[in-house]
């Protein structure tokens, strides 16, 4: 008994490959074959049904419809678009509209969310309570309802276009949206743009110089304030130097509507407000937990070293908080982008809305839906690729 080898189910040598169900590798293969088989079977069943149904109902397939004339109008477009353009271009307009609302929404939500998140940690009780009330109210109400609310607020709550509110000369607020003067074409605007770019470059150079000088002499230069001054100051100087033109393209009521100026449409406003307000509540939580995730010991260590609170925040807390914040923050960005599909409900022409119209006009539902999903999936995928890259870059070096 002591030395003879008892065997069950054969006596495989280590790494040997006798075929037995109690060998975990064999088992794994069998399971996987079964599972994959089942999935393939189901997939095949669905696809063959679909093909069969499509053929039976003689529904056209393929993406050639993308080149056909769309023949419907789109209210808002970032690139030129008219009903003469193709379905493909219409879809592109939708994608760009989605991106537009997402990008602006992301920026605004980040700003508001960060403010609220920091406010929740404020030592001022009132501010902290107010911020947490905001968070608790907003994130517990469906975003769609908030969207409807904002839309109704604009379209029912604001005066009709004829009696538009005119709080500042040239600014009109009505059911048709917010009309503001746009600067009329003038070389000064280009010059200001250039001046701004120059300021950005200068700020960068300044930062490097300040760093080098600090390394050399230890003196600290207030880069942040100087950079801000540059970025505001230089364009201002350019403006004044260009003769301070005051000519504006004023919106004026002509016929049915205001013409001229820039407009923020109610649909865009509602979707932007809805998404921003809603997502900001979540971002606030992300920011807050990121900040409290940084061990209190870090602050204490910095304090004990005599580092003032400004540099402590900048050099010790933020770099660590960002590691915690960025991953959930990106998934909030992703949520915001996906939620922008709610635009469908209030008539902002986002990609879902335009794809739905297209698939309806052409009857090619499967193609339409694959285009919607494909677009969102590529957005998600790019974000998660970014995330992986970022996580790798900032990962704390561990043993």
């Amino acid at each position: 008994m002591a030395t003879q080898t008892r065997t069950t189910g054969g006596a495989p040598a280590p790494g040997g490959s006798s075929f037995s169900l109690s060998d975990p590798t064999v088992r794994a293969v069998v399971y996987q074959v079964l599972v994959v088989g089942a999935v393939v079977l189901v997939g095949w069943f669905l696809i063959s049904n679909t093909l069969d149904n499509l053929a039976r109902r003689s529904i056209a397939t393929g993406y050639s419809f993308l080149e056909r004339e769309a023949a419907f109008g789109i209210g808002e477009h970032v690139i030129d678009y008219s009903p003469k353009d193709s379905y493909g271009r219409a879809f592109l307009v939708g994608v760009l509209n989605t991106l537009k609302v997402s990008i602006i929404g992301v920026i605004l939500a980040t700003i508001i969310g960060t403010l609220i998140g920091v406010a929740r940690l404020s030592s001022n009780w009132l501010i902290a309570k107010l911020a947490s009330t905001y968070v608790e109210i907003v994130r517990n109400i469906p975003p769609l309802l908030q969207l409807f609310f904002w839309y109704a607020l604009v379209s029912d709550g604001l005066p009709p276009v004829r009696s538009a509110l005119n709080p500042i000369p040239g600014v009109f607020l009505s059911q048709r949206g917010l009309f503001v003067p746009a600067p009329s074409a003038d070389p000064v605007w280009t010059m200001m743009g250039i001046a701004f770019l120059v300021a950005v470059v200068a700020a960068y150079v300044l930062r490097r110089w300040a760093k080098a000088r600090q390394a050399r002499t230890g003196q600290i230069f207030p880069v942040g304030w100087t950079a801000l001054g540059l970025m505001i100051g230089l364009p201002l100087i350019a403006y004044v130097a260009g003769g301070a033109p005051t000519a504006l393209d004023m919106p004026t009521l002509k016929g049915f509507n205001f013409v001229g100026g820039m407009v923020l449409s109610p649909e865009f406003f509602a979707i932007l407000m809805g998404l921003t307000i809603y997502t900001a509540a979540f971002i606030a939580e992300v920011v807050r937990s990121g900040i409290i995730a940084v061990n209190w010991g870090q602050t204490e260590a910095a304090r004990a070293l005599g580092i003032p609170s400004g540099p402590t925040l900048r050099l010790v807390i933020l770099p660590q908080a960002l590691r915690v914040i960025v991953p959930p923050l990106t998934s909030q960005y992703l949520n915001l982008t996906k939620n922008s599909s709610l635009a469908l409900a209030i008539g902002y022409p986002d990609l879902v809305s335009i794809a739905n119209t297209t698939l309806n006009q052409t009857g090619q539902a499967i193609e339409g839906v694959t285009m919607i999903m494909g677009t969102y999936l590529s957005i998600s995928l790019s974000i998660s690729i970014f995330m992986n890259w970022y996580n790798k870059r900032i990962a704390l070096v561990e043993r």
Partner: protein, 316 residues
Amino acid sequence: ATLDTVKSRGFVQCGVNAGLPGFGSPDSAGNWTGLDVDYCRAVAVAIFNDPNKVKFTPLSAQQRFPAIQSGEVDLLSRNTTVTLTRDTSVGLNFAPVTYYDGQGFMVNKKLGVKSAKELNGATVCVQSGTTTELNLADFFRSNNMSYNPVVIESNDEVNAAYFAGRCDVLTTDVSGLAGTRAGVAPVPDDHVILPEVISKEPLAPAVRHGDDQWFDIVKWTINVAIQAEEFGITSKNVDEFVNSKNPDILRFLGTTPGMGKALGLDEKYAYNVVKKVGNYGEVFDRNVGPGTPLKLERGLNALWTKGGLQYSAPFR
């Protein structure tokens, strides 16, 4: 085959408008009424001799074609315009036209607009995924005018946006405008429907390609209503005609058998349809006619004998 599926299921699944008074809309108890709805009921009567053996699926304009294509509904009776692409690439077969319509514009009286040609620069509310959306673009394009579309998916929302003042103009089929003005407008008299009709909009129920028998049933159920009016048969007096002298009528009502069987239906299906749903005129008057809030005239929808376009192919 669809007929077998429907029979074994026990009811017809019918896609209708979610909220267009006069054509398809539920009351607050969930009872569906409207012209389109009645033709769904007519098909149910033709098959089951029971106008309640039908279930309604409210569909937005965007959802309707995927829904009929996929088999989600057996019959699409949702003020759908007959067009070539819908017949071909969407893959629909259209039954006889139940309502000849045309696209029009409704504006607030206060704007003082008298003609569609004055609408340059206007903001227009329109439902997405409709021929209306396309005609609108065409109309403004051909008249060299610009417009600003507010395109919303659901009919309710479009109407709400218009009445809230989000748009200057509401556009859809004239019948729809009338329905909206009568049923949805807070103060109907504040709104006028402009005289221009910018398109032909023959509205007809549709079925998918690939099932001719089912198509025939729907087609000849609608023809029953038109033909009955031509014969002067109504739901009230249909029993008097059962023993009529006219062989056409006897064939029609199934007293002389043959027609129903050919469709795979009860011989007396036409009798049942007329008895339980009524003839075309009755359906029209009940839902959209002058006696209803919509106050629509027969116009193009009068029988061909009265100068209109409603015309049934002969039952023989």
